[in-house]
């Protein structure tokens, strides 16, 4: 349990030591977005020097829950915990109206648009029937917006003759509800999700969206899937095992490739090496690191719901990351989580900044490998 009072006091007197790493403040360049000031806002509320009003509540949602501040903080303070506790404490009329609607959609299972219609036929041959040895879980956002990513991974797995099953409909892990501060809803969703997945008795659960994996492995605190499923893996870890076993051939290319560490895969789940090994596996590829990588990598803009609550901030975050990627001279940016590539690719359209005029292809690790595989 963190000491919210003392932590917020310390952040409020900090000379802003983690601001440069903050995914949001680094992109918006607004002082009020810095972790120090988030701490100061919490302190003011605790000390009753300021009451929660709509303007301040808004700042508690201008956070990507990325925990880059915690990694940068040498005293290990975690501003996102302060923010999350503030979000959880926001009740009634103070909940921004946009967020109220988001919550209703999450709870009713209508988050994002409808599932992609092409998905049904794509998944049909692989539907789990009663039992699933290796279960592939995509996550809600991907099932609605990630047709290319899902097509890519299924094609790759098929080419590698991998055995796997998918679910016809997927329950929500509760990640979005959890990080937006709806703790009870998140718990209910997670419990349902656990039950439905457990009913298939998988031995290995492979989770495509890194934030769902983070929810399953890290944030859900009850007796969860980690107790009942022997192996729960990210896609890069799963693919690395598969490729080491199958030893497929890849086209020889000459290209510079950079890699973006998603917050969940990297900082939270410590999956740094598997995707890099996979990229290096392709002959002729030079892996070039971005200025801020691994523990310091900024969030792409998805931000555990920030893309919905503050799309203008998401656009700035994604644009900043694209520029950072382009500065490496790479022609391709690979992401470990497909949600990041979806967000980053959308930024090319929404951000008209002169430095953002394209010039780099952004794809997830499965698509990257699939396109370079010699069948």
């Amino acid at each position: 349990m963190i000491d919210i009072k003392e932590n917020s006091r310390l952040c409020s007197v900090c000379p802003n030591m983690c601001r440069d790493f903050c995914s949001v403040a680094g992109a918006t360049r607004h002082e009020a977005d810095s972790p120090k000031h988030k701490g100061a806002f919490v302190k003011e509320v605790i000390d009753e020097k300021n009451s929660l009003d709509a303007a301040m509540v808004d700042y508690f949602y201008r956070c990507a829950m990325c925990k880059a501040c915690r990694e940068a903080c040498e005293t290990d303070l975690d501003t996102s915990e302060l923010v999350l506790s503030a979000r959880t404490g926001v009740k009634g009329d103070l909940i921004p109206s946009k967020l109220g609607a988001v919550r209703e959609n999450i709870v009713s299972g209508n988050m994002y648009a409808d599932e992609l219609s092409d998905l049904k036929s794509l998944l049909k041959p692989h539907l789990a029937k009663g039992k699933a040895h290796t279960l592939l879980y995509f996550g809600r956002k991907l099932r609605c917006e990630g047709l290319a990513a899902i097509t890519g991974i299924l094609s790759l797995l098929d080419k590698l003759n991998a055995e796997y099953s998918v679910m016809e409909t997927e329950p929500d892990t509760g990640q979005l509800a959890y990080f937006l501060g709806f703790a009870e809803d998140a718990r209910a969703l997670a419990e349902t999700c656990n039950r439905e997945i457990e009913a298939l008795h998988p031995q290995t659960l492979v989770v495509f969206s890194a934030d769902d994996l983070r929810m399953i492995k890290k944030e859900f605190t009850g007796p969860g899937l980690s107790q009942t499923i022997p192996v729960i893996q990210s896609v890069p870890e799963f693919l690395l095992e598969l490729i080491n076993k199958m030893k497929p051939a890849f086209k020889d290319t000459t290209e510079k490739v950079s890699y973006h560490d998603s917050c969940a895969l990297g900082r939270e789940l410590r999956v740094f090496e598997a995707p890099r090994e996979l990229i290096r596996n392709v002959p002729g590829v030079t892996l070039v690191e971005m200025a801020f990588n691994r523990d310091q990598a900024p969030c792409c803009g998805y931000g555990m719901g920030l893309d919905i609550t503050h799309p203008e901030i998401k656009a700035k975050m994604a644009a900043r990351l694209r520029i950072m990627a382009m500065q490496t001279g790479a022609t391709t940016l690979v992401t470990g989580c497909p949600v990041c590539s979806i967000v980053l690719n959308a930024a090319a359209v929404t951000d008209m900044s002169d430095q953002n005029s394209g010039g780099i292809e952004i794809i997830d690790i499965a698509q990257f490998l699939e396109r370079r595989l010699i069948v």
Binding site: L10, C14, M17, D20, F21, A32, H37, C73, A291
Partner: protein, 478 residues
């Protein structure tokens, strides 16, 4: 302190700013205005027993995208006689960005483009709001470094460094920011844009970079600058020596400099810092040599010879390496046990600061000894180190930490600490500041530094360039 603007005028100025820059680059929200108007100085000079004093609050915050946005802002400010306070990383503190009379804060951090890397000619050109660490991380991926590595590298940026004449930890070899900059782009107080040429050197009249460096936002807004860059060093070599006392360690540095040996970093702790933070008795010197292997080895050997001739104990590379890798930044992070950040005794406030100054080698020894006695009388704990050296002397960084009673006597008690420290530095022949700058805290001592004639000429320059006194009014003793 209230803004000088009436509500009617505020609306007019806001509308003009929005029309010129666009809605999303201008804020009048109370949260933004308050956040941008915060500085420790407010609490440390607050006479109220509960420590609750309202800071002076800005009327507007703007985030320019281009130099032209800055031009537009300054023209509007001139039209309405509205103060303009440029802000970058906000790490200088010392009240330097407090909007004493309200007005417009220009947060230059939004000018954050790395414009050009020229590896053929060893330069990088950046906008003024790039944070040091962003630039350094980028340069490192390209195999380069600027070698400006202050403890504030994660929080301060180009505009602030230039405006406060900053020094990084490898300044002994590579110089302060003032020696790294080649050319600058500055929006003048009348809205004109002035550029100095990014050439290696020149004899064409005065060097105008020096007009803006150290001006702390009183003579214009720096929007872009070109700097020298260096290849990342192939090797770094770390050495540590324990001297009997601080004067002996200073003497060793003098001999090292005289010999022409150029450590990238050299840092000596006074006896108290050596005892409290390094758990040794005496005065610890840590040195880092960089470049290619043979150069480092030769310089380290020469320095070792000098240390041995002064009976220093060789502590090997560990203390120096630990400082470089771990301790360089950690002291700035707050924790509940940190002497500067722990909860104060009820009714008291924790204060801290550094009376960093520079002078000859003799000066360093004299000021270190006398300041400790002076600060002791004011119940301030003071530890010193010296970490920037020159052929003729160096810098001393006496950091004071203590608790003062809240209430009406607080402003005078706090001011007294600075007064005693600054007068001592001045009387002993040092500059009143080496790299943290002046801000409000030291503004009243600027005439000690420049002399009455110097100050009068400075005022004339200010009046000529900024007749409406819009640029960061009330700072630098102007």
């Amino acid at each position: 302190m209230n803004s000088i603007l009436t509500d009617f005028y505020k609306v007019a100025v806001e509308n003009e700013l929005i029309a010129a820059l666009g809605r999303d680059k201008v804020s009048t929200s109370f949260i933004d205005r308050k956040v941008y108007s915060s500085d420790e100085l407010v609490e440390w000079t607050c006479p109220s027993p509960d420590g609750d004093c309202d800071p002076p609050i800005a009327d507007f915050v703007v985030w320019p995208d281009t130099a032209q946005d800055v031009v537009e802002t300054i023209k509007i400010a001139n039209r309405h006689r509205v103060p303009v306070i440029p802000m970058c990383g906000a790490a200088q503190n010392r009240g330097s960005i407090l909007p004493l009379h309200g007005g417009i804060i220009i947060d230059v951090k939004s000018l954050h483009r790395i414009i050009a890397l020229d590896t053929e000619n060893h330069t990088v050109t950046v906008q003024a709001g790039v944070i040091c660490n962003e630039l350094e991380a980028f340069l490192n991926t390209q195999g380069y470094t600027m070698n400006h590595l202050p403890q504030s590298q994660h929080i301060s940026g180009i505009g602030g460094f230039l405006s406060a004449r900053s020094a990084g930890v490898v300044s002994t070899k590579y110089g302060k920011i003032t020696e790294m900059v080649l050319g600058m782009e500055v929006v003048l107080p009348n809205g004109d844009i002035m550029r100095t040429k990014p050439v290696p050197n020149s004899a064409a009249g005065p060097n105008f970079n020096y007009l803006f460096m150290g001006a702390e936002g009183t003579l214009g807004v720096i929007t872009e600058a070109t700097f020298k860059i260096h290849l990342l060093p192939e090797a770094r070599m770390f050495r540590s020596y324990l001297f009997p006392d601080y004067p002996a360690a200073v003497n060793a540095v003098r001999l090292i400099m005289r010999r022409g040996v150029m450590p990238a970093a050299i840092r000596i702790s006074d006896e108290l810092e050596t005892q409290v933070f390094h758990k040794h008795k005496g005065s610890l010197m840590i040195a880092m040599f960089d470049g290619f292997e043979e150069l480092c080895a030769l310089e380290a050997k020469e320095a070792a010879g000098i240390a041995a001739s002064l009976n220093a104990q060789d502590l090997g590379e560990k203390p120096a390496l630990e400082w470089w890798e771990k301790k360089r930044f950690s002291v700035a992070f707050p924790s509940s046990e940190h002497p500067a950040f722990a909860l104060p005794i009820p009714g008291f406030v924790r204060v801290n600061g550094c009376i960093d100054s520079a002078g000859s080698f003799d000066y360093l020894v004299a000021v270190q000894r006398k300041l400790r006695t002076l600060m002791g009388k004011l119940n301030m704990f003071v530890v010193s180190h010296s970490s920037h050296f020159y052929h003729t002397g160096g810098m001393i960084y006496p950091r004071f930490i203590g608790q003062l009673m809240r209430g009406p006597g607080l402003p005078a008690a706090y001011t007294e600490i600075w007064k005693q420290g600054i007068l001592l530095s001045h009387e002993l022949g040092g500059t009143i500041n080496h790299h943290h700058g002046i801000g409000l805290t030291l503004a009243r001592y600027m005439n000690l530094e420049l002399g009455n004639e110097g100050m009068e000429n400075f005022r004339k320059i200010k009046r000529a360039m900024d007749p409406n006194n819009i640029m960061n009014p009330g700072k630098l003793g102007l």
